[in-house]
Amino acid sequence: MTRYLLRRLPSALVVLAVASFGIFALVRLVPGDPVSTLAGPDASPEARAAIRADLGLDQPLLGQYLTWLGQLARLDLGTSYRIGGQVKDLVADGAVNTIVLTVTALLLAVVVALVSSVLAVVLDNRWVNAALSFGNTLAIALPTFVTGLVLILLFAVVLPVLPAGGTPPDGFIARPDIAAQYLLLPAVCLALGAGAALTRFLTEALRTELRQPYVTTARALGISRRRIVLTQALRNALPSTVTVLGIQFGTLLGGAVLVEAIFTWPGLGGLIEEAISGRDYPLVQVLLLLSVAVFVAVQLLTDIVHAWLDPRVRIGGAS
């Protein structure tokens, strides 16, 4: 197990290292610079010079890169040009919102997937399956920006029962009931696609499992189909599902950018857009690197969980 982990780590680190350089270069190559956005149209040349020096942009590029790496090594993410304040605070604030949103969506998706796929397989009824697969395909086919707007139109405008966007005024913990209502629409909107995809996968996986010989053995022992599905097939389908879940999480993070825009959810999505359009180098760099890091981490995690769930990997042994 640990050896397995050790084997995967280096490549992850390599990716991150490459990424850091790629990102730094990319950010610097992008036309337009922070000074012009900071100074605005009416600023005088001396003002610009002052800012440039102030941001250390007059240093040679390699130097800038190395300083950045140095900072990273010291876990100092630097200060934002535009928004001001510590990058780490900004990212933390955004991250909290984004994570709350994505994780909720992920949970929703998982619950939906579990319920509907188990239902589909246990009942194994033509109509149920047809209905589910239709709902699925539709859910996948509806672009996020469409569903988002429809949801707002329905639940915030036509019959105003839920907030049209924004985060709960007094945080997520203070008033969970309020928070839940703020979360509902964006989370659902975000979860829809992922949930459908997961359902599709899990249903297929369960069906495949039910075709395995061990299921025949179990049935020959007089164990009911329902119980086989719940205690055996599901458990066997879990590892592969976890992998898919990992992929889905990445997708959700991506989708979050859009959902946050639609529901004015102050998360990393808006932050990164703002940072890029403002050429807020320190912020952009950290955010991009973060997204790579998250991706790598999730991959690593899913691999580990996958391995842990499968005794054949967890415990080596004969045959």
Binding site: A43, I51, L107, A156, G166
Partner: protein
């Protein structure tokens, strides 16, 4: 030896469902929307309630004083105060932190008496040093404030009397009161936090509580405000970058005031009694079509004239700005001493004339037409302009550009064709515009336009004691002529700011600085 863990899948699943159910039930009993709507709900001027203001753009600490974002404007307008206040319809300074003032005959110095009952939110008394500090801060290029050059032209400070200050100028400053109107008096002790965006200490009716970047700013009532106590308990400025979202949040009652709406949404709110839309004079914006004379074709003034004639300004005002604005050939709003109704008609819409001018020039190559991407109005205007020009035989290619890139091009003067943008500051002393607004800058501008005459008139208008007397107006006439003859900036329309609120919001104001004035605002049904 590890025990085999029992399958909890079903149970876990059930639990999750139960959890969701609970949430649903709880939600039923207390609705977020309900709470959002519950502000102060007595009728008539009443204490209390938090006003939630929707702002389209977040503040940038480094440029909090550049009047460049809704949040910054609202923050500065409510937390800080200036020495004098312009009324929205004239350039006659009114006392604020300064009670009275005396200008020397040579126009090279100005003495102001300060209120002696003003304390900063930190509790410290306001003194003349703070005024000096504020002016010096503005004179520092790093803050990139528009009137930096004006502030820098103030060379001497006499702060011997804590409640009076005498300023001496390098040369007469016709727009010094513009500066004093715009300049917020800031607290020297908290300047570093200010730079960080962690503290904004002023003397105004509201106290800065917190700023959550790209989310919101929270303000509370200043309990020991020197003037009349504000009625609101506090103000929450929500950053809602997407105009669409602002509209829906105003509708769903999450916002009381929306600053960043599209004109079309504003129009539909206007029709709805549950909301009111107020148009404020005095802080007008002007949208214009810039021409880069570095482009050989555009160097030909006939072409620029053709363009000026070809623009169907009325249509743009009616269809894009939904009637909120007036077609213009010159930047000035009516309240400006430089306003000249006749001159403003010089290039009235005349497609035939435009066509003829173009035909004189022979066929034209396609001109690039840049505008800041992601802004509905600019995009619409650009498309109308494109159609107008096409109608008279001038082909254009639309180039939406990211803001930062756009600004870089503006500053570098690298458009190489036409561009669309807005400018402000025409509501102030006209010299402020020509001195401080980059596109009009006589020394260097995005149009690569330079003319000794224009230079002379611009400086002349600035370096004199009064910005409003007859002499000044005479210079403005010449400036107008320069602008109309050279057409390096082809004005399209002057648009007054309009603010949409729910019907329960009363008595909000908007200063010439384009800053919300909430001193007397209150919530009532």
């Amino acid at each position: 030896m590890r025990r085999e863990r029992r399958p909890h899948l079903l149970r876990g699943l059930a639990l999750t469902l139960a959890g969701l159910l609970v949430v649903a039930v709880v939600s039923a009993c207390s609705s977020a929307v309900g709470e959002a709507n519950g502000g102060g709900s007595a009728s008539g001027p009443s204490e209390g309630g938090v006003l939630r203001v929707g702002a389209g753009s977040d503040l940038i600490p480094a440029s909090v004083f550049t009047n460049s974002s809704d949040v910054a404007n609202t923050l500065v307008g409510t937390v800080y105060e200036s020495l004098v206040d312009y009324p929205t319809d004239s350039l006659e300074p009114q006392p604020r932190l300064a009670t009275s003032w005396q200008q020397s005959d040579d126009g090279l110095s100005l003495t102001l008496q300060l209120r002696d009952d003003v304390t900063f939110h930190s509790g410290r008394d306001l003194t003349s040093e703070d005024v000096e500090f504020s002016i010096r801060t503005w004179a520092d290029p790093a803050w990139t404030v528009q009137l930096q050059r004006t502030a820098a032209a103030i060379t001497g400070f006499d702060t011997s009397d804590p409640h009076a200050i005498t300023l001496t100028f390098a040369h007469p400053l016709s727009n010094v009161f513009d500066l004093l109107d715009m300049l917020p008096i800031i607290d020297s002790e908290s300047i570093d936090q200010l730079r960080e965006g962690t503290a904004y200490v002023g003397t105004g009716p509201f106290v800065f509580e917190s700023w959550t970047p790209s989310s919101k700013v929270v303000l509370t009532r200043n309990e020991d405000y020197w003037g009349e106590q504000p009625l609101l308990d506090g103000v929450e400025i929500d950053v809602v970058t997407d105009p669409q979202a602002q509209a829906s949040q105003l509708r769903s009652g999450q916002l009381d005031v929306a600053l960043g709406l599209t004109d079309r949404d504003r129009e539909s709110f206007e029709k709805d009694d549950a909301y009111s839309v107020t148009e404020f004079k005095g802080a007008e914006n002007a949208i214009y079509l810039g021409a880069d004379l570095a482009n050989p074709d555009l160097r030909e003034v006939k072409l620029r004239q053709a363009i000026a004639y070809a623009l169907d300004r009325q249509r743009i005002v009616d269809e894009v700005f939904r009637g909120a604005g007036t077609p213009a050939n010159l930047p000035w709003p009516e309240s400006s001493p430089a306003y000249d109704a006749r001159a403003n008609q010089t290039y009235a819409y005349d497609a035939a004339k435009a066509e003829e001018l173009v035909s004189q020039l022979g066929d034209q190559p396609t001109l690039p037409l840049a505008y800041p991407a992601g802004n509905g109005n600019f995009e619409a205007v650009a498309q109308v302009v494109q159609a107008n020009l096409e109608a008279v035989g001038i082909e254009t290619k639309l180039e939406p550009q990211e803001y930062s890139q756009f600004i870089k091009q503006l500053i570098g003067g690298t458009f190489g064709g036409l561009w669309i943008l807005e400018h402000s500051y025409a509501q102030y002393t006209p010299s402020t515009l020509t001195v401080s607004a980059y596109p009009f800058n006589a020394d260097k501008n995005a149009s690569h336009f330079s003319s000794p005459a224009y230079q002379k008139h611009a400086d002349g208008a600035w370096q004199r004691d009064s910005g409003t007397d007859r002499g000044a107006v005479r210079i403005y006439r010449q400036l107008n002529q320069d602008l109309l003859d050279n057409l390096f900036l082809i004005e399209i329309a002057v648009t007054p700011p309009r603010v949409a609120t729910t019907a329960k919001v009363h008595d909000i104001g908007l200063s010439k600085r384009n800053e919300l004035d909430l001193g007397r605002a209150y919530l009532a049904d």
